[in-house]
Symmetry: C2
Subunit: 234 residues, 2 copies
């Protein structure tokens, strides 16, 4: 079982031996949003085989990245350790880097609540904090997110599918803007599709609120993609 070793005494290899295993960083990605139970992870990673999920959870645990926490009312959740949480900037940076090569969804591709949540965190522009505090309700597929952007940061809550609100209570009150989008949400964030155009051609549907707020959304959540885009994944 020495087959995982890259045979080098080096920080990069030590990191990769843990987190470059297939599915490992996606488990971390979902746990960055909050503690999750086994079943939550399975649903958030629809294509992971259950034996691999088990194996990874065990490996990440003994690597000190995650921790098993029994719940008072039966059941248990997995959560990141402080050391595991240090992976957050890395996962976000990978999300930014990969954003440029996303292309259009392939057959069977899904958007999960957790992936969209970290995507928003990835795209979040702290320097847009001097815009008026705004709360958005965002529908993509059957995922509904509530994002509150203010001067003291970004807070994202999952309204549907409903996850246990372990981390803290959901923001209350009416959102300033409620809208629904498909994969075109990526074009908005990339800046290659003007909000006005998106509303005009129906790829984004305003459910409630001032459509002009979509411009503020586009300024708050942005990942610039290079002019000459990287080859798209097929």
């Amino acid at each position: 079982m020495t087959t995982r070793s890259y045979g080098q005494y080096c920080g990069v290899t030590s990191a990769l031996e843990v987190v470059a295993e297939r599915w490992a960083l996606l488990i971390v990605r979902d746990l960055l949003v909050g503690p999750r139970r086994y079943t939550d992870l399975k649903q958030g990673l629809p294509k992971i085989p259950t034996n691999i999920l088990s194996t990874r959870l065990k490996e990440l645990q003994e690597a000190g990245v995650i921790r098993r926490v029994p719940l008072m009312n039966c059941g248990l959740v997995y959560e990141l350790t402080p050391y595991g949480r240090e992976l957050e900037p890395i996962v976000l940076a990978l999300g930014r880097w990969g954003f440029a090569r996303m292309g259009t969804p392939r057959d069977g591709d899904v958007v999960t609540a957790d992936s969209l949540t970290v995507a928003l965190r990835t795209a979040w522009q702290p320097d847009a904090a001097d815009l008026p505090p705004t709360s958005y309700e965002l529908h993509v597929g059957d995922v509904v997110l509530r994002a509150d952007a203010g001067p003291d940061g970004l807070r994202v809550a999952q309204l549907a599918p409903p996850a246990p609100p372990v981390g803290g209570r959901a923001p209350s009150g009416e959102p300033d803007l409620r809208f629904a989008a498909g994969p075109a949400i990526r074009e908005i964030i990339a800046g290659t599709l003007a909000p006005a155009d998106a509303v005009a051609d129906g790829t984004v549907h305003i459910l409630e609120g001032d459509p002009a707020l979509l411009d503020r959304f586009a300024a708050t959540f942005r990942i610039p993609v290079p002019a000459a885009p990287a080859p798209i994944r097929t």
Copy 2:
């Protein structure tokens, strides 16, 4: 061959499909130091099977991460594209994260010139730039590096094993400090071994220069590890 897909429309998955394949990020790590030929990569990654190296080079190339550049005087090198070079902060962050779990070298672990070069870049503290500009010659195993730390940044050159000085000429002049170390170099950088102690017990050997400069080295290159270290890789 749809077996690589994680089935999600998400930046993180798009990135991982390219970069989380076994050996892929290590190829990127070595190319971060400079263009390399096939044989250089094979020597810098002693345990990579050649078919895997070929496959990864092809994949990274068609993913727009690396590029094949024919050399005028016969031969060819691989180099990062601008898009590939954007992985640098990610690789360095992974190196920092993995540093905490390196432990002691396992049997057969080697330290390569490229891995040590990016390790120095990983540990480099820009805020130590107000220290006097200093150049070090560092011996670890049969790797000899020349590191010049000054107010305008860090420059590392490989003196042995000699790599083609493609990126720019090596710094000239005598280094301020020449010293040799084993794996204990990690303890110096981690701050868990005082330079004076290292010299006293012989784990670091001063070849030339003022031993007190080792303290400056330790201040310039540092990766703090948490008090409660993460479980070590076995």
